[in-house]
């Protein structure tokens, strides 16, 4: 038999970049032939490419792991599934089956949760834009509402007036926990006294009863200590409210923002080394709570984790459709999935795995998506051996935000499948076709063309 073939490559050696492992086949090169035991080739054959693939095994494992981390350290823990992270119905249903309530940030998400059968009292309604009608429905159905701004206090008071009863609501805070930039555009600022003023205003109005505090520091927070500082400040503020206005704070919603093992661009070390484990977050939060709360007082601790639960359970299979050599000598590939499906490529450097072993020296390569736009880059610099057209790449972790933020710009959105714990593959969203793009369009009569033929 003839020896295996490797594509020919020649590279100039540059000072400071003469590290053989950058190019060596044994290192930095990743192959994935299956996801949870289901061959990548079979998945594509049956459902097409590109394809979003979710692992039920990883989803449940992540949930259990995180829930255990918190519930073994604090007696009153509730998870609110962050819909915006991934609101495919099957994913949400799985999260609810695990015991999560719903955390929504818009009227659309609220309706989605209701349509999935989640009762109003198991929905947390957050966000800067809650339309009056959505707000009224949410109130009627008993949802937990975290107030974002003063106009929402007015809006809720109008609802209370209409219903003729007092409403229990939560207050969203923004505060300095050492995380910058501070997300000061959401909620009421703690340190400046704005939050206290808001509570005073509620008390004065007499229609709203403040019974919860909410604060979401940001996203991909790599310092467990930030949550401890946040919790400390929230508890202290809760005590102040109880003393000043007689409110009783029944829940502390500390938001999400826990990182997944994804590689944020601009972080030098790999995520396994750079990121604290979820237990470290749980420990910091539980310790801060125990220290700050009165003995025997255990208000409900709500976590709105999204990314940390779903990101690593999501994969995107894409196919190489063209190979190019750029004028500067860089190897380039065109894949059938780009930033239309991988919005988070802006911030994260994905793990990119090939569907088979390929011989040859690694080259610094760029992967472009299918869009006819210069910004459509999946990875501007990835070490890959020379790939051929038709090869599949599995991109991960992509479970968080990529599906919900995917675009229909010039391409159809692909199918999504869920691999069950016994290896069964369920289609959870069909691939789109022209009807999905045009269904809502209406043609003025004067443009209607006569059928040709």
């Amino acid at each position: 038999m003839k020896p295996a073939y490797e594509k020919p490559v020649i590279k100039k050696l540059h000072n400071g970049l003469m590290n053989k492992f950058g190019y060596s086949p044994a290192y930095a090169r990743k192959v994935r032939t299956d996801i949870d035991g289901v061959p990548v080739a079979d998945l594509v054959e049956k459902f097409g490419s590109p394809l979003f693939v979710y692992s039920e095994r990883i989803l449940r494992q992540k949930y259990r792991q995180m829930h255990t981390a918190f519930s073994t350290r604090y007696p009153n823990v509730v998870f609110g599934w962050s819909y915006k992270t991934n609101y495919l119905n099957a994913i949400c249903a799985l999260m609810h089956q695990q015991g999560s309530i719903a955390e929504v940030v818009s009227g659309m998400e609220y309706e989605k949760a209701r349509a999935l059968g989640v009762p109003g009292e198991n929905i947390i309604f957050n966000g800067p834009h809650k339309a009056q009608a959505a707000l009224e429905t949410a109130v009627r159905e008993g949802a937990m509402i975290n107030v974002d701004h003063l106009d929402e206090i007015y809006a809720l008071e109008r609802v209370a007036q209409k219903l003729g009863r007092q409403l229990h609501v939560g207050l969203r805070l923004n505060l300095d926990a050492g995380v910058y930039p501070q997300w000061s555009r959401f909620g009421f600022n703690l340190e400046s006294g704005q939050a206290l003023e808001a509570a005073k205003r509620m008390k004065y109005g007499g229609k709203l009863v403040l019974s919860g505090l909410h604060c979401h520091l940001g996203t991909f927070i790599m310092d467990a200590g930030a949550y401890a500082r946040q919790v400390e400040k929230m508890v202290a503020f809760g005590c102040e409210l109880e003393k000043a206005f007689g409110y009783s704070i029944e829940y502390l919603d500390i938001g999400g923002g826990f990182p997944s093992k994804s590689r944020l661009k601009g972080v030098y070390l790999p995520p396994e080394v750079a990121l604290p484990a979820i237990d470290e977050y749980a420990e910091a939060i539980a310790q801060a709570l125990t220290k700050a709360l009165r003995p025997g007082d255990f208000p409900k601790l709500i976590l709105e984790s999204g990314r940390a639960l779903v990101d690593e359970a999501g994969f995107l299979i894409t196919t190489i459709t063209a190979t190019k050599r750029l004028p500067d000598g860089t190897r380039a590939y065109v894949a059938d999935a780009g930033v239309n499906l991988l919005f988070t490529a802006n911030w994260f450097k994905f793990n990119i795995e090939m569907d088979r072993e390929v011989g040859g020296v690694n080259e610094q390569s760029v992967i472009y998506g299918p869009l006819c736009m210069n910004i459509d880059v999946v990875d501007e610099s990835v070490l890959l051996p020379p790939l051929s057209c038709g090869m599949r790449l599995t991109v991960s972790p992509v479970g968080a935000y990529n599906h919900t933020q995917s675009l229909q710009f010039i391409e159809y959105r692909p199918a999504s499948v869920l691999i069950g714990e016994r290896g069964e593959v369920d289609l959870i969203r069909e691939a789109e076709d022209l009807a999905d793009i045009t269904r809502r369009e209406r043609m003025p009569k004067r443009f209607a063309q006569e059928e040709v033929g």
Partner: protein, 78 residues
């Protein structure tokens, strides 16, 4: 081909250009192509030789030889 003949090439894939002082690393099949180019073989003949020696189709080999030649040109080696 003049430039190619001046290169110092070792069998482990290390290439040194005494004229410019540049060093290069080249893969096994790249070494084969470099050697044949130095001996004055045509691209077509080199592709055929690759296809005979290795597990690769003639079409892929032709494509790769052309691509490799482009790299050499880019590196100012031919």
């Amino acid at each position: 081909m003049h430039k190619l003949s001046r290169l110092a090439i070792n069998e482990e894939g290390f290439v040194f250009n005494p004229t410019t002082g540049d060093s290069f690393q080249v893969s096994e099949t790249g070494l084969v192509i470099l050697g044949k180019l130095r001996d004055g073989h045509s691209d077509e003949a080199i592709a055929q030789a690759l296809a005979e020696k290795y597990e690769v189709s003639l079409e892929d080999a032709q494509r790769d030889v052309a691509d490799f030649r482009a790299s050499l040109k880019n590196l100012n080696l031919i």
